[in-house]
């Protein structure tokens, strides 16, 4: 177990959120990807913490870097991507310094992950029970029989009816929502403290979405998990998350408590996202939208990255790189004009 040696918590510069409490801490996490334009930075200096017993939302449009951030936390980056700067610590293990073999010992034990399109994430050639039990056999060295018995209990935990029979079925005999429950059972098999959920309900029916989200929240509360919930759906964030980080073009642009961020956003991008949300209370008002698209990574500007699409951009101030700064306790924004402009949020 020498590979999993506990690293000292990083110097608590932001001491407020208590280093010992964090199950996940990324510090200046920077990820590069190899493209025809050479190595291009797609995630730039992300500082993120997830504590025990809290759900942190990671929000942004497609291409904002939220999935890449989550994959690097699991050490699951594709071959053409690498962590070029910064560190990732999960439960005291410095993930970003581990070799593939050592990472395999951590995955599923300290941190686990569920994904979009649960059905495609399960192997069609093996029974669902076998795929869940596999994790227990791998990490705990249990016998096939013992692992299978515990798998039935895990299926009951994630509310799959008729668990004893269903463990012997194949993924094609399960609905999408049930497949995501199987994924959850697999993720939680070895009692990890960190669960990363990457758009876990995006591919599911609306009614099923709610059930799966409620299940995640119940399990999070019961097991005291730290959850990093990646989504583009602000409605989901509002319902689920304690804290939120908003990403744009590879950077965190705003971070804070969910309530504060929703009611009083301090970055024009957050505000614009909120205005583009469907909300029954705003029936009749025109739906907001953000003109343009997220630029591709090799065209990230050296200025404020949102400036080109921002309704509040002014020339001098926004034509230089902007740092993330703390506006009030635990509320960070990357807008140069934060505080001087009035940004609409959503009413509670």
């Amino acid at each position: 177990m020498s590979a999993l040696e506990t690293v000292p918590p990083p110097a608590a510069a932001d001491g407020a959120d208590g280093a010992d409490d964090a199950v996940l801490r990324t510090t200046d996490l920077t990820v590069e990807v190899s493209t025809e334009h050479g190595w291009v930075t797609i995630v730039d200096g992300v500082d993120l913490t997830v504590g025990r017993n809290e759900i942190v939302g990671l929000v942004g449009e497609s291409g904002s870097g939220k999935t890449v951030t989550s994959l690097s936390v699991m050490g699951l980056l594709p071959k053409n991507a690498r962590i070029s700067r910064g560190t990732v610590d999960v439960m005291g293990s410095r993930i970003s310094a581990l070799k593939e073999r050592q990472l395999a010992d951590v995955r599923g034990v300290k941190a686990a992950m569920i994904f979009q399109e649960p059905r495609r994430c399960l192997n069609p050639a093996f029974t669902v029970g076998d795929q869940v039990a596999e994790s227990l056999r791998r990490h705990r060295g249990w016998s096939r029989k013992r692992a299978m018995q515990h798998t039935v209990e895990l299926f009951e935990l994630v509310e799959i009816p008729d668990a004893a029979r269903r463990v012997r079925q194949y993924p094609h005999e399960f609905s999408g929502g049930m497949c995501q429950r199987v994924m959850l059972a697999m993720a939680l098999a070895c009692d990890p403290m960190l669960l990363i959920a990457d758009e876990p309900t995006t591919a599911l029916d609306v009614t099923v979405q709610r059930q799966v989200l409620e299940l995640i929240r119940r399990l999070q509360g019961e097991l005291g998990l730290g959850v990093l919930l990646i989504t583009h759906d602000l409605g989901v964030v509002a319902e689920m998350c304690d804290r939120v980080a908003v990403m744009y073009a590879g950077q965190v642009v705003e971070q804070g408590a969910a309530d504060a961020l929703f009611h009083d956003p301090s970055h024009p991008y957050t505000s614009a996202l909120l205005q583009s949300m469907l909300e029954p209370t705003r029936r009749g008002e025109p739906l907001g939208f953000i003109p343009g698209v997220v630029p591709p990574p090799h065209e990230f500007p050296p200025t404020c990255r949102f400036q080109a699409r921002c309704a509040h951009a002014v020339d001098e101030q926004c034509r230089r790189p902007v740092a993330l700064r703390e506006l009030s306790a635990h509320h960070l924004s990357r807008c140069e004009r934060a505080g001087e402009i009035d940004l609409p949020g959503v009413t509670p």
């Binding site: 994904f115 192997n123 050639a125 791998r138």
Partner: protein, 318 residues
């Protein structure tokens, strides 16, 4: 599950019956149309027309085509393929003596081909896009360009003549012991295995590359499985069906390849007998031989189809 499997195999066997009947009929027809006259072969040089007619009558060749086909078919159903007018041997017992020889040769060749294909293909797939991938592809291409008779000659030259590790010709059956059998069978099997090995390598590589891109492979990594377990369990079972398909094709084509290889190495299997009976105009033996080969090919295809259900549970429900 077991019942379903039995009913599947039963259905497929029933479907195989018309195939076999059609094959025998076409073979009979082809023989009828062929210029080879067994009577002329037996009669020797410059026979009188009376002598020819006599031999024809003795062989039953003067009877109508349908009658002869049905007679032959009825006997064949009882496992009797007749007696060769050339060698005066019962065809059935002759073929049953030779069948295990060819089968053991082909099975050994298949083993070599699978080892070659899986090793080359897997190494290439795991290093896709790299120099190793390129090298494996080059090896496969070279092997693909070596037909069995060239491979046989090269193998004999290097491993029987220049460095005499194996005998150049001859045969020992499995009942003589594994050692002697391997001594005589290794070179022939290797020469049969080159092209199939290369074909399998390509199929294994492309099937594995596709499978390794799947989301469930990422899931397997996310739960902390080791790379070896991911490839050997999660990827292999899903990559298998196209490989098994090629395996079936390759296996049947090996029976054709055995004709040449058995002749080169003087192995008394079905390949040798097919060449001899064609050259001697021994239609009775040829007839029986073709039925035996058709049965073997049908059995191989059945086994391939039956394996799909194992690899892909979604197919079992139907």
């Amino acid at each position: 599950m077991v019942m379903r499997m039995i009913s599947f195999i039963g259905k497929r066997l029933l479907l195989a019956v018309p195939t076999i009947v059609l094959v025998t009929f076409l073979v009979f027809l082809l023989m009828e149309l062929s210029p080879t006259d067994p009577a002329a072969t037996l009669a020797g040089d410059n026979p009188t027309p009376e002598r020819l007619a006599e031999i024809r009558a003795a062989l039953g060749l003067d009877r109508p085509f349908w009658e002869r086909y049905l007679d032959w078919g009825a006997a064949a159903l009882h496992g009797d393929f007749g007696v060769s007018p050339i060698t005066h041997q019962a065809v059935t017992s002759d073929l049953m003596f030779r069948l295990p020889i060819t089968v053991s040769l082909v099975v050994l060749a298949l083993f070599f081909a699978v080892v070659m294909g899986v090793v080359l293909g897997t190494v290439a797939a795991l290093n896709r896009g790299g120099a190793v991938d390129w090298a494996m592809n080059a090896i496969a291409n070279i092997l693909l360009a070596v037909p069995p008779f060239v491979a046989a000659i090269l193998l004999v030259l290097f491993f029987a003549i220049l460095s005499p590790a194996f005998p150049a010709t001859g045969y020992a059956t499995l009942s003589d012991g594994i050692g002697p059998w391997l001594q005589f069978s290794t070179l022939p099997a290797l020469s049969l295995a080159t092209i199939p090995g290369a074909l399998l390598a390509r199929q294994v590589r492309s099937a594995l590359v596709d499978t390794l891109e799947e989301d469930y492979i990422r899931t397997a990594r996310a739960k902390g499985l080791r790379r070896g377990a991911i490839v050997a369990k999660h990827a292999a079972k899903n990559a298998a069906p196209p490989v098994v398909t090629v395996l079936g094709l390759v296996l049947t084509s090996m029976i054709g390849g055995a004709v040449v290889v058995e002749k080169i190495f003087a192995i008394p299997g079905l390949g040798s007998v097919s060449v001899d009976s064609v050259l001697n105009g021994d239609l009775v033996t040829l007839q029986g031989l073709i039925v035996v080969v058709a049965l073997v090919v049908t059995a191989v295809n059945l086994a391939v189809d039956a394996s799909y259900g194992y690899f892909n549970p979604r197919l079992r429900a139907r």
